[in-house]
């Protein structure tokens, strides 16, 4: 890897005062950005510059900054989480960009994810889908059975684990031309459908989660596969197929 250097870039960023306001793309020049910095550090640098100029800093979501919480978002140069694969925006580095580049930064665009401010969107629609069925009911009165006492075939356990890697970031919705949430819901349905603990409530789970997903105003999957490519956690389309099977089984019951 070549040594870090400093680059000068132009940023085109969506600015929007609040949920009601009409937003627009604004242009900013930012000089001396180290290619060793992360994308979010670059935005921190921009915000310092804006604060020094007595301007409103750019609002964006972030928390862990290590790719596990799912808070960061950003549609960068036309791609969710920017131009690299298998990473979240907080894991994106400025070495992916060149001196003189213009970088577009936009919020996730979906009817179900309304913009709160600038680049921050409200992803509580995902929480409501989870609340509709993305759980197993457990007796917590002191007789809880240890999960490991129930044998699970290795292959199923692996697949459930891979589905459970979803961090609920919403990149799948952002990148899908239909604004569909089926990769997220597919992952959440699969994670339980594959395990004995989840089978008990499988019928109601898939019906309720899909109903909530539709009510939130997400679009319909047309199997373009863009979500699978942009998902930072490599959630596969197999999970959507499994949800479709689960839904068919549940509907016929």
């Amino acid at each position: 890897m070549s040594a870090a250097k400093n680059i000068n870039i132009t940023l085109k960023i969506w600015r929007q005062k609040n949920a009601k306001a009409k937003g627009s793309m604004e242009t900013y020049k930012l000089d001396n950005v180290s290619t060793a910095s992360s994308f979010l550090e670059m935005l921190d640098q921009l915000n310092e510059q804006l604060i020094n100029e007595k301007k409103e800093p750019v609002a964006f979501d972030h928390d862990c900054r290590e790719g596990i919480c799912g808070m960061c978002s950003l549609y960068i140069n036309g791609r969710a989480h920017g131009p690299d694969s298998g990473i979240t925006t907080c894991q994106l580095h400025m070495r992916m960009f060149n001196d003189g580049d213009t970088i577009y930064i936009e919020p996730w665009r979906s009817k179900a994810f309304p913009v709160v401010k600038d680049l921050v969107v409200d992803r509580s629609a995902f929480d409501r889908i989870q609340q509709a069925g993305g759980f197993v009911s457990v007796n917590t009165s002191g007789n809880t059975i240890d999960a490991n006492s129930i044998p699970v075939p290795k292959d199923d356990a692996d697949k459930a684990f891979m589905a459970a890697a979803c961090i609920g970031c919403g990149a799948c919705v952002a990148t899908c031309k239909n604004g569909s949430a089926m990769l997220f819901v597919g992952a959440k349905v699969s994670q339980y459908a594959l395990l004995p603990q989840g089978k008990v409530e499988a019928t109601q789970r898939v019906l309720n989660m899909v109903r909530q997903m539709d009510e939130e105003g997400f679009g319909n999957c047309t199997n373009t596969g863009a979500c699978e490519i942009e998902c930072p956690k490599g959630i596969s389309l197999e999970n959507i197929a499994r949800m479709n099977r689960e839904y068919l089984k549940a509907s016929l019951k």
Binding site: K12, N77, S110, T175, K177, N178, C221, N223, N244
Partner: protein, 287 residues
């Protein structure tokens, strides 16, 4: 399941898209097998096929299923597309198409081209075959004692009727001899004896001639051929994404079977529209 979910749920709409789409793939295969007789069969074989397709009860049932599938598939597809557009009211300033294929992003446009094609195709061939009073009857030239003579062809083996012996519906007897011709055509395709009202034979409609003339038309034949080939291109792209997509919609996806489905889908998407498209080109260029 709540009844309304049959149409309302996003996933159920997808099942319907997939089932109707796959049924239409079967229809395409059957239709292609028949059409290929325009290249590899005789005109009689093609007209036999056309007659079979318009009269056989099993085919009738299948054809109604096909009409329903096309209508349902188109309406459902357009409804889905409108909903999907609404799911993103504000678009992106910058997009990058690298994470999905052209075909998968344009199913509705491709489908609409196919729909327009199907409509023109029905007007040009299906409606003529079913309703047109001036639909030509099949005539075969046979050499009789060194002279070429024209015969109408009956649907039973070996039925040939000299054209000059057959009066058109409502035709007056020859003004000179005052003798009526031996046969008369009734109900478009029935050959009756003109003296006793007895049916002698059923005649073939000449869909073969209609089709060949259509694509050889001096004025529009080239345009018709180009439009046909263009539409088959759209169908190819539609199937390139659609075939494998339907299996995913129905929940069939595994590391074992999906590569096979994708391979078959791509082969189907190339071969079927290509063979369809070769036929008008062949007819247009035929001497």
């Amino acid at each position: 399941m709540a009844k309304s979910a049959l149409l309302k749920s996003s996933i159920v709409k997808k099942y319907w898209m997939a089932l109707t789409g796959l049924f239409l793939c079967l229809f395409l295969a059957g239709h292609l097998a028949g059409n290929l007789q325009l290249i590899f069969g005789t005109s009689l074989q093609f007209n036999e096929y056309a007659l079979f397709m318009t009269t056989n009860p099993a085919v009738k049932l299948l054809s109604y299923l096909t009409y329903i599938s096309i209508i349902f598939h188109a309406i459902d597809g357009i409804m889905l597309t409108i909903q999907n557009k609404k799911a993103r009211p504000v678009g992106y300033a910058k997009t990058d198409g690298s994470s999905s294929s052209f075909a998968s992003r344009n199913m509705a446009v491709l489908g609409t081209i196919i729909l327009v094609f199907i409509a023109t195709h029905m007007v040009n061939f299906w409606a003529k075959m079913h309703f047109d009073k001036n639909m030509p009857l099949m005539v075969k030239e046979i050499e009789v004692q060194g002279n070429k003579q024209k015969f109408y062809v009956g649907t039973q083996v070996g039925q040939f009727f000299p054209v000059e012996q057959v009066a058109k519906e409502g035709e007056k007897p020859d003004p000179v001899t005052m003798l009526p011709k031996q046969f008369v055509i009734k109900n478009k395709t029935e050959l009756h004896y003109s003296q006793a009202d007895v049916k002698a034979a059923d005649l073939y409609k000449d869909l073969h001639k209609l089709t060949v003339d259509f694509f050889k038309d001096p004025k529009f034949g080239l345009a018709f051929t180009i439009f046909y080939v263009f539409s088959m291109g759209a169908l190819g792209f539609h199937l390139w994404h659609g075939f494998q997509s339907a299996f995913q919609s129905l929940g069939v996806n595994s590391s074992k079977i999906t590569p096979v489905i994708k391979f078959v889908g791509k082969a189907f998407a190339v071969i079927v529209p290509l063979l369809f498209a070769i036929i008008p080109i062949f007819l247009h260029l035929k001497k």
